[in-house]
């Protein structure tokens, strides 16, 4: 679809004019309709704009501006919405309901697995909004990628990739879901852009799930922004003393919703979770699973002792439970139920 004059004007202002955000906003306020911006009548500006639009087209990127129909309404409501969002992938996702799932880069294995599962179930109703980092973000992506209901917001331009190791992942998100960024395509990530990106995560979404966060985690910025914007905040409860969960527990203490599965989240939006098919378990598996549920995080040898199995028999059963997504192995041969 061809951009309207107003959209073009905003893109020119944001991308080509060289003005900062405040100045751009001031310029827009000064005119009744962005299309009436006086600078645009200058031929060199029109040329600049056409060149920029061509470069976007070459890289197969699209843009939405404050004047576009599909600019996310929720984002418009925040105090500093980006004038332009650049996107790559499935544009239709912008109109869907959105829910944000984020977690710190270092995340306990059980939380990683749980995040993946929750993300998968949430993606049946919402577009899952997240970043592109390791740990929590990655888990959310791997859960929602299958359905394609996935929006990743980058802290850098869309032609860049941060972290660079996730270039393949980024490509797959682009193929199935949507990549968004408020930065020009070739702008690298800067220190401040992570904070700014987190405001978009919160601003785009109806609610935010914090999968894991240490006491001073960047993930908490997203949570604080969500509170500021009046979005729901959910958090997984973590063990006392686990560094990667202190932030989550503190959020719950302050009044965030405690979530242990997708149902907790979906029900607060009046949605229903698809009934899960219970995997059939053998006698041994049932026994080992109950040992795991009783014991929290257990070493394989402890599991074996409590279930009355030999250690290598227990590891076989545990790995079967792992395949069925009922148990998870963390470092040092420790297992826990999910």
């Amino acid at each position: 679809m061809r951009p309207t004059k107003a959209e073009e004007a905003i893109v020119w202002l944001a991308a080509c004019s060289g003005l900062d955000y405040r100045a751009c906003v001031a310029q827009l306020r000064a005119v009744r309709d962005p299309a009436l911006l006086p600078q645009l009548r200058r031929p060199e500006c029109a040329e600049q704009l056409q060149a920029f639009l061509r470069s976007l087209k070459e890289e197969n990127l699209f843009f939405v501006t404050l004047a576009s129909d599909d600019y996310p309404a929720a984002l418009k409501a925040i105090s500093d919405p980006p004038l332009v969002l650049y996107g790559a992938g499935n544009r239709a996702l912008l109109k869907k309901r959105k829910f944000c799932i984020v977690g710190s880069r270092i995340i306990p294995p059980w939380a990683e697995k749980l995040t993946k599962r929750v993300s998968e179930e949430i993606s049946a109703h919402f577009a899952v909004v997240t970043g592109l980092a390791e740990g929590g973000d990655c888990a959310a992506i791997s859960g929602a990628l299958e359905s394609g209901n996935l929006i990743c917001v980058l802290p850098c331009g869309l032609s860049e990739c941060y972290p660079a190791a996730h270039a393949t992942l980024k490509m797959r998100v682009r193929e199935r879901g949507l990549l968004l960024s408020e930065y020009l395509p070739h702008e690298p990530a800067a220190k401040f852009s992570f904070h700014a990106r987190n405001r978009l995560l919160a601003g785009l979404s109806e609610g935010v799930l914090i999968a894991s966060a240490a006491e001073k985690s960047g993930t908490l910025i997203t949570a604080n922004r969500a509170l500021e914007y009046g979005r729901d905040v959910f958090a997984f409860p973590h063990n006392v003393g686990a560094a990667q969960g202190e932030g989550c527990n503190a959020l719950i203490q302050k009044g965030a919703f405690l979530a242990t599965n997708a149902e907790d989240i979906l029900s607060s939006y009046g949605l229903e979770c698809k009934p899960k098919e219970r995997p059939s378990l053998s006698e041994q598996e049932t026994k080992v699973l109950s040992v795991l549920r009783d014991g929290g995080s257990l070493h394989a040898a402890e599991v074996a002792a409590k279930a009355g199995l030999r250690v290598f028999e227990a590891t076989a059963v545990l790995s079967s439970l792992e395949i069925k997504n009922l148990a998870v192995k963390s470092g040092g041969n420790m297992y826990s139920a999910v």
């Binding site: 070493h299 395949i323 192995k329 470092g331 040092g332 041969n333 420790m334």
Partner: protein, 507 residues
């Protein structure tokens, strides 16, 4: 007069006959050596001169020409000293009546006339016997190594004079008695599984690895006993057969690392430091190609402690020998093939700080750091490591199950039983262990039950295992079934095999 004496030089593990021809002629006294001798061989001139003089023999004051035939191969080292001395004596008619035909003389000479031991005596003797030679004069220092060669008369000599008197029939040296091979009884003693506390998972992995000839990787925080576990590997490996022992001894003999007892009776356990170069690992050298660590580990274990610290190129060089069981090294001086069928056992920390997954300390590494650390080991190499286990530092004081107190001998019995099943299975097919199976053998011997196949499919989907991992898992499952004494691979075997691929899951 011309004298011809047979000696041997080494080409890889093969002995090559060299004829030492000496001509003593009238003329201006001189000493000429021809036939591509290297410096060490040329220097034998002085050693032979002094040794003769100090043995009360005469160094002829004539024009002497020594020729080594065939002339086109390089002659290296001091192995020719004794042969040159004897040929000189024969040519200068100091050995009248002494028969030297068809005797192979091997040995280096000291200035006082002593015969010094040389490297590589066993491979030379074996080759020479194959060429039809049955009488040898060797340095007494090599006697312990040479006595394992049956069907030959071997005369160990301490001095040049002894050799002369033997040849003249004045004081014959009694030939060596052939020794019978007794496999080492794990005399090292200090390593035994019974000394290892806990670690049931790693123990089990060791057992499976040895039973099926699989390579293994242990990951765990520092101080969890990875090295100690690895040192137990030779104690649970099957005893060496005489043929294996001879082959290993040949390699060690060529490399000059043979111990006192003269034959390698225990499986080698090599632990090259992580600063090792590719050449020291694979073999190489300027002109003679020495066997590298992987060849010295032939028939035994190559233990690489702190795997990610090794140079990438060194590790990558292991890939081909891991597959072929031999290494071919090409140098200007020739191309040499050494056997290198070893079991690779590697250990590494789970992350740069070492505490990832530790029970009592927290890991301070970022995911990117951990990823970088693990990426030092390439996928193709990791792919050749069938068993990957975590070694942890949980205290086992209150957990004592029976399998934690077993000693090496008990485990070895089970390993032997599993190996026996494999020997019967692979009889005449040129492979010995499950790990060596190719696609054809997997199809023939590794039939999965319907249920087992379903499990494997599920595991593939959920864990995103690579297609290459499939064959590895099936092979390990085959070994577990063998240990279990089962004809068919059961679902439990597959599941256990899946649990030993931790690095596929981490991806």
């Amino acid at each position: 007069m011309i004298a011809k004496i047979v000696c041997y030089t080494l080409n890889g593990l093969e002995g090559v006959p060299v004829e030492v021809e000496t001509d003593v002629n009238k003329g201006i006294p001189g000493y000429e050596m021809v036939g591509l001798p290297d410096t060490a061989v040329k220097e034998s001139k002085e050693r032979v001169r002094s040794a003769l003089k100090n043995s009360g023999l005469l160094f002829p004051m004539n024009k002497i020409t020594v020729n080594f035939a065939p002339a086109d191969i390089k002659k290296e080292g001091a192995v020719f000293d004794l042969a040159i001395a004897i040929s000189l004596l024969k040519a200068s008619e100091q050995l009248v009546g002494g028969e030297v035909k068809d005797i192979v003389f091997l040995g280096e000479l000291a200035l006082n006339g002593d015969v010094r031991p040389i490297n590589g005596i066993l491979p030379i003797l074996i080759s020479a016997k194959g060429h039809g030679f049955t009488r040898f004069v060797i340095p007494a220092g090599n006697a312990s190594e040479a006595r394992f060669l049956g069907g030959a008369e071997i005369y160990p000599a301490r001095t040049l004079n002894e050799v002369v008197r033997h040849l003249l029939g004045v004081a014959p040296i009694s030939p060596l008695e052939t020794a019978t091979f007794v496999p080492g009884t794990a005399a090292s003693g200090s390593s035994d599984l019974k000394f290892i506390k806990g670690q049931p998972i790693a123990r089990r992995a060791l057992e499976i690895a040895v039973a099926g000839g699989h390579n293994m990787l242990m990951a765990g925080p520092p101080g969890t006993g990875k090295t100690m576990l690895a040192r137990c590997l030779p104690t649970i490996m099957p005893d060496l057969t005489f043929e294996e022992a001879l082959e290993i001894t040949k390699i060690h003999s060529v490399a000059g690392v043979l111990g006192e007892e003269g034959i390698v009776s225990e499986r080698p356990f090599r632990t090259p430091h992580h600063t090792a170069t590719t050449v020291s690992m694979c073999g190489g050298g300027n002109r003679i190609v020495h066997p590298g660590e992987i060849s010295l580990a032939h028939g035994g274990v190559l233990f690489l402690d702190e795997l990610p610290e090794y140079k990438r190129s060194t590790l990558e060089a292991l890939r081909q020998p891991l597959e072929d069981g031999k290494i071919t090294v090409s140098r200007a001086g020739g191309t040499f093939t050494y056997p290198a069928r070893f079991m690779l056992c590697a250990s590494m920390n789970p992350c740069p700080c070492g505490n990832y997954g530790s029970a009592d300390r927290t890991c301070t590494c970022t995911p990117a750091e951990i990823r970088r650390y693990r990426r030092k080991i390439s996928g193709p190499l990791l792919d050749r490591i069938d068993l990957q286990v975590e070694v942890d530092n949980i205290s086992y004081d209150d957990l004592t199950s029976p399998e934690e107190r077993e000693d090496s001998a008990t485990v070895k019995e089970r390993v032997n039983a599993a190996r026996h099943i494999q020997n019967v299975r692979f009889e005449g097919s040129g492979i010995h262990t499950n790990a060596e199976m190719g696609e054809r053998e997997i199809a023939a011997y590794c039939t999965l039950t319907k249920e087992g196949d379903k499990i494997l499919r599920e595991a593939f989907e959920r864990m995103k295992l690579s297609a290459r991992a499939r064959a590895r898992i099936i092979k390990v499952a085959r070994t577990i079934a063998d240990l279990d004494g089962q004809e068919n691979i059961l679902p439990a075997h597959v599941l256990e095999a899946v649990s030993y691929r931790i690095y596929d899951k981490i991806g």
